[in-house]
Structure formats: C-alpha cells, structure tokens
Amino acid sequence: MEIPYSVRVRPDTGFTNGQLATWLFLASEAMLFGGVFSSYVILRAGAEHWPTGTLNIWTASVNTVVLMASSVTMSRASMSLKQGRWAVYRRFFVATAILAVVFLGIKSFEYAEHLSRGEYPSVNNALAVYYTLTGLHALHIVGGLIVMLYLLGPGARLHGTNPGLFTNRVANTGLYWQFVDIVWLCVFVMLYLL
C-alpha cells in the first residue's frame, strides 16, 4: 500500500505528510512544556520563599552554546542533503549528534554535582522543578539522538531506495531539533537566569 504525499508536497495543502505530522507533534510538545512551565510559574508565584542561586549557570551557559552550535550544524546538514551533497550532510549530521552527546555529558556532570551536594529533588520545589524540567528536556535530547543514530545507521539505507523520503525525514528531524533547542533557551532563561 503506497501512501501518497509522503515524498511530494500535496499541492492544495502545501505539506508532505511527515512535515504536517511534525508540526502537529511540536504543537502538542509545546502544550506539554507549557504545562510544566506554567506549573513552575504558579508554584514560584505562590511560594513564600524560592531558593535561587543553587543552579550552575556556568555549565548551563556552556550547554546553551553547545545546543546553539548543534542547531546550526543541524540546519547545515539538512540543507546540504537537499542540495544532494551527501558527504557534507554526513559530516554536519554526525557533528550534531556529537554535540548532543556533549550536551548530555555536561548535563549529567551537572546532575552528579547537585546530587553529591545532597541537592535531591525532594529538598525543595525549586530543585523539584529543576530536575523535572531539565530531565524532561534531556529526555527529548535523548529521543532526538536516537533518531539521529538511526538515520546515520540502519536508516541510511532508505537513501538508496527512496532518497526523497529520506531527505524529508532528515528535514523533519531538523525541525524537531530546532524546537528542542528553543525549549532549552526557555529553560535556560526561566530556570537558571530568573
């Protein structure tokens, strides 16, 4: 069973199936993070005292730079693939995956540091929000990383059989990745800086 419009854009809607699905998925992701962010705002506004200054702004800034860089490499990757420059695409895509790993590495260093100081999620709600929000975001990074590894490994075979579909998949992964980066910016500003 051949599903139409998985490679080409449907003229009257202007979407491929995968594109539309990615946008819809991102809308629901926005509601998910929106739920956590608004809980954070409500808890913080209602608290008599909200401990600040425990979070490590320094590592978070490094991580922000890492993710911004990965955002650039990701868009270069999907652009090169569209132009048919396979080798360039591979290079940028691998770079993105490496940056994701670096991000997770720094993140786990940050977690370990907090835990070693006895700063568990149960200590106060500031830490509870910190672990939940960054944990949820890190899970999204892990998800993106798994997709990237799949596309670099077994998924790459699709490029031989159906290059159009493969290019779309990479583009949609890129879309998702940009979203996760934007969420990180929100996390960085609202959690670490405020």
Binding site: M1, I3, N17, L20, L24, A27, M31, V36, A128, Y131
Partner: protein, 597 residues
C-alpha cells in the same frame, strides 16, 4: 468508471459470494500475526481497537454491577463472584471500603480512557475516516499499529494494578492530591496513563494528517461527511489537551517516587504524624491541569457520537442533512471553547468571583453550540421519510437522552446552583445521561450501521430490537432516580450509599431500584453480544451498499480489501445527496459521476 460502481452497488445480491473481496495478493501472503495481530492495516487496527474497547466497557460495566450490589445491599456478601475477589478486597464476599474506592476509580478510568474513547476514536475513527475520505489507509500505518499496542499495554497495566499489593488506584478517576500521592495503587495508574496519553497523541496526529492530506480527488472540506469533521475536531482536542495532563502525571509521579512536593502543601499531618516532605506545593494545581484535559475529554466522548448520529440520521431520513454548515461550525466552536471551561469542575474550591464568573459565562456559552447541534439534528428529520432501522432507533434515542444530560449540565454550570449539586448523584446522573444512553447508544448505532461494511453480513433485526428497547428502558430507570437522589443531597463515592446520613433516608430506596435496573441492563446486553458473534458467521449476506447510502465507504467492497478501493475513488458532490429531485433513486452517492444514472 464511477458509474460502474454505483451500478454494482445497486444490484441486490442474494449470496454476495460472487462479489470480489478486493484482497490484494500481497496482503494474503503475510503471515497470520502480521495480518491480524501486528497489522498495519487501518481496518484491522480499527477492529482491534473496537473489540478491545468493548471488552473493557464490558469489564467497566461488570465492575459497576458489583458496585451497585454494594449500594443496594450494603455490607451483604456479593453473590456469584463475591468469593473470588480475595480476602484483601472482600473478606467473606463483603466488599471493603478501600475496594469500593478502587472499583469506583477504575470504573471511571476504564470507561473513559479504555472503553469509550478507544472505541469511538481508535475504533470507529480508524476504520471509517480513511474509507470516508477515499484513502487507502491512514497516513502512517506503522504509527497506527504502535498506538494500538501502546493502548493495549496501558490497558494491561491498569488491569494488572488490581493484583498489585495495595490494589488499584483508589482516589477517583480525578486522582486529586494529596490523597492520590499517598494512596496505594496510584503509581501504576499514572504509568498506565502515560501509555494511554502517548497512544492517543500518535493516533490524533495520524488522524489529522490523514484527513488533511489523503482526501480523495474532489473531496473538498465542505464535502466531508460530518463524521469526519467530528473526528477531526476530536483529534485536535486530544492533541492539545492531553499533554498538560502528561506533564501533571509526571509531576505526580515525581511526588510519589522522588518525594517532591509539587502538589503537597507545607504542614501536612496524617493521623497525628507530620509528613516528611518539603512542602510548598499546590494541590489545586493538579486540578487545573487535570480538568484542562478532562473537560475537552468529555467532548472527545461526545463529538464522535454526534458524528455517528448525523450519518445514521441522514441515511434513514433519506434526505440531505439540514444545516450541515451550522453543524461543522458548531463542532469547531465546541472544540475551541472546550479549552476554556475547565474550572467549572472547581467552583467549590473558592476561586474568587472574577474567575468563577469567567468560567460560568464560558460554560453557558459552550452550551449554545450543543443546542445548535441538537436543533439541527432534530430539524433534519423534518420532511424526511424515516425508516426505523436498528441504527436509527439508537440514533433517535440519542437525541432526547443527550438532551437530558446536556440540560442538567446547566444548573451545574452556575456556581450558585452547583453549590448544592456538586459531588452529588446529580452530577453522576448528568454525565451518565450524556455518556451512556448518549455516547454508548451512538456507538451501538454505529455498530449496527457499519457492521455490514466490516463483515459483509447484516446483524439480526429481532435481537437488535430486544437490545434497543431493553437498554433504553433500563438506562432511564437507572439514571433518572439519580437526579432525585442528588437533589435530595445524596453524595457520590459513598461506600454505603449514604446510609449514615439522616437526610438520605428517604432516598435509599432508589438504590435498590437502580441496582435492579443495572443488572437487568446487563441481561439486555446478551442479545447484542450473541448477535455480534452469530451474525458475523451466519448473518444474511449483503451487498456493498445495503443501506443505500451516499458516502464513499459504501463504494468499497464489504469487507474492503487491503488498500480499500478497487480503483481511485473520486467525489463528485456533497456527502448527503438523498432524494435529489428527478433522480431515479432516492440516493445519489458522492462517487457517482452522473446525477441521474
């Protein structure tokens, strides 16, 4: 080409054996488990959803029959199954309060998340949306299979929780903290919900993409059957309203597993012991996040039902749907507005006058599109030539039953009157009128209506009559007295049915009546189950368009093969062209090129 199909559709077939099944060879070559178990075909997935959902519904109903025993005869041993419930739940067959609470919470959860929504959205939506828009399958068949199996796992987890130490969740389907954070059983419930939420997110993305992208040639938005519109709006509600609950469920899980205090305020003391959590949380936060989902969820329960009813009514009045545009606009309005009324479940939490005014106004406003939908469906009967087929009986009964349920929502939507009614059996009566003789009746209508498409055979009329009249009468005897009890002040979620309280004494007699009606209702479901199984093997064979209907699914063979249509379907007109003047027949299908064949 299309004319060929319509001719075939018109030929009454005595045996139907000679009709091509349209099975593409590729399909039959797949091994059994790929064809029927891990199938990616939307029809198989749809049937899986429907059957699993109905089984859960039956389970939810059995749970409720047990509960009604306890309410009718408090603290008397439950007959038949009492001995099998285990000493931890019902020593000597007598139900314990904690078990009552588990059954109550699980009845709500099973019915809403594992029964009705999977059947209405996963089952009917999956099976019919691609057929009605002339597509070969859903846009993402693999995703479709994944969402069924996620649902299945979520369901199994929920069931397994009954056997876990401490039993199943017991804080109501609403799971209000702090109770839910400290009560046993809740962890599995939360994990189960995460599965169900993920499943329904995948499903709704799939449905929306399918409707937007895979509509057949000629099928513009205003030519979509109303059922497709209903599913489309429903999918958006699931997509946008579920994630905040997922966020809330994660936070409640953190509260339970990592000892955080998202929903735990400072200074809690349980039976004289200070609770050792950091505190500073907000229990009402959960309620906001929960109802932000759960109110749209109730429209998820009703919109597909309205879609089914609209299809069945137009087919059986033999005339176009009156006010199609008004229906579509109302469904869209309901969709948008349902995201703005959630706090009408929270009037008693003391939210302040401004907030409560806002939610009272939005609640009253959202009733208006519902009134419009009902009015359109009723006026659509005007001028028809009404055939009282079994699906039509269920669809007709839906209207006044939903009317009763909807109208009793009005006093609940005004804070001053909700003050007396909140958390009483009036609320239970209100929403059961909309979900049971409302939505469940619409689902029954849909089963009787589309069964010939799914199996190529018709359901028995005689058993259908028995099922319909028995269910209609029992449902009313069951739910009408709940309004009396509620107005008189009887609370819901009472282990002993309110025996303790003086003001309930004159109301207790109804518990017996309701119990009797519930068990009789159970008996009246037997003809339905028998009908389903016997007719799927031995029912009268019918041709591909036995109801002489107009929408695209009737173009496909019954049952449709893999890929659904034998050649590309094209829509030449609107969905409900019945009794077109000067036409030879009283129906002109969307797929027939000529107005006059």
């Amino acid at each position: 080409m299309a004319a060929v199909f319509i001719d075939r559709a018109l030929v009454p077939s005595s045996t139907g054996d000679e009709l091509p099944t349209g099975d593409v060879p590729h399909m039959t070559q797949l091994p059994f488990w790929r064809r029927y178990v891990f199938s990616q075909d939307h029809k198989v997935v749809g049937i899986q959803y429907t059957l699993t959902g109905f089984l859960f519904m039956l389970l939810g109903f059995i749970v409720m029959m047990v509960i009604r025993w306890q309410l009718a005869y408090p603290a008397q041993p439950i007959p038949l199954i009492g001995g099998f419930l285990g000493v931890a739940n019902a020593p000597g067959g007598i139900m314990l309060p904690e078990f009552y609470n588990q059954l109550g919470a699980m009845h709500g959860t099973i019915m809403v998340f594992l029964g009705v929504v999977p059947v209405a959205v996963g089952g009917f939506g999956n099976y019919l949306v691609p057929l009605q828009i002339g597509a070969g399958d859903m846009a993402f068949p693999k995703l479709n299979m994944a969402s069924y199996w996620l649902y299945f796992c979520g369901g199994l987890l929920m069931l397994a929780s009954f056997f876990a130490p401490g039993g199943a969740a017991q804080s109501g389907w609403t799971s209000y903290p702090p109770l839910a954070v400290i009560a046993p059983g809740q962890t599995i419930w939360l994990v189960g919900m995460v599965f169900l939420i993920t499943s329904s997110l995948l499903g709704s993305v799939n449905t929306i993409v399918t409707v937007v992208q895979l509509r057949a040639r000629g099928l513009g938005w205003m030519r979509l059957p109303f059922f497709v519109w209903a599913q489309f709006v429903t999918a958006f509600l699931l997509l946008l309203a579920f994630p905040p609950l997922e966020a809330a469920a994660s936070m409640q899980l953190m509260d339970r597993l990592a000892n955080t205090s998202f929903f735990m305020p400072s200074g809690l003391v349980f039976s004289g012991q200070k609770l050792t959590v950091a505190g500073g949380g907000n229990p009402l936060l959960w309620q906001h996040l929960f109802w932000f989902l759960a109110h749209p969820e109730v429209y998820v329960l009703i919109l597909p039902a309205m879609g089914i009813v609209a299809e069945v009514i137009t087919n059986n009045t033999r005339k176009p749907l009156w006010g199609y545009r008004a229906l579509v606009v109302s469904a869209l309005c309901i969709g948008f507005m349902s995201l703005t009324v959630w706090a009408h479940h929270m009037f008693m939490t003391g939210m302040g006058t401004t907030m409560s005014t806002f939610f009272q106004v939005t609640t009253m406003l959202i009733s208006i599109p519902s009134v419009v939908i009902l009015a359109v469906l009723i006026l659509s009967l005007w001028g028809g030539s009404i055939r009282f087929t079994i699906p039509m009986l269920f669809a007709l009964a839906f209207l006044p039953m939903f009317g009763i349920g909807g109208l009793t929502g009005l006093p609940l939507g005004l804070a001053p009157t909700d003050l007396h009614l909140h958390d009483t059996y009036y609320v239970i009566g209100h929403f059961h009128y909309v979900v049971a003789p409302g939505t469940i009746f619409a689902l029954f209508a849909g089963v009787y209506y589309w069964f010939p498409k799914v199996t190529g055979r018709a359901l028995s009329n005689r058993l259908g009559q028995l099922h319909f009249w028995g269910s209609l009468i029992c449902m009313n005897i069951m739910f009408m007295p709940m309004f009396i009890q509620g107005l008189g002040g009887m609370n819901r979620r009472m282990y002993d049915g309110g025996l303790q309280y003086a003001h309930n004494q004159p109301l207790l007699k109804w518990n017996l009546v309701i119990g009797m009606a519930a068990w009789t209702l159970g008996l009246f479901q037997l003809p339905f189950i028998v009908n389903l199984f016997s007719s799927s093997r031995r029912g009268t064979l019918v041709d591909r368009n036995p109801w002489q209907a107009t929408t695209l699914e009737w173009l496909a063979p019954s049952p449709p093969g893999h890929g659904n249509f034998e050649s590309e379907p094209v829509a030449y007109r609107g969905p409900y062209e019945y009794s077109v003047p000067e036409s030879d027949t009283d129906f002109t299908p969307q797929f027939s090129r000529e107005a006059r064949p």
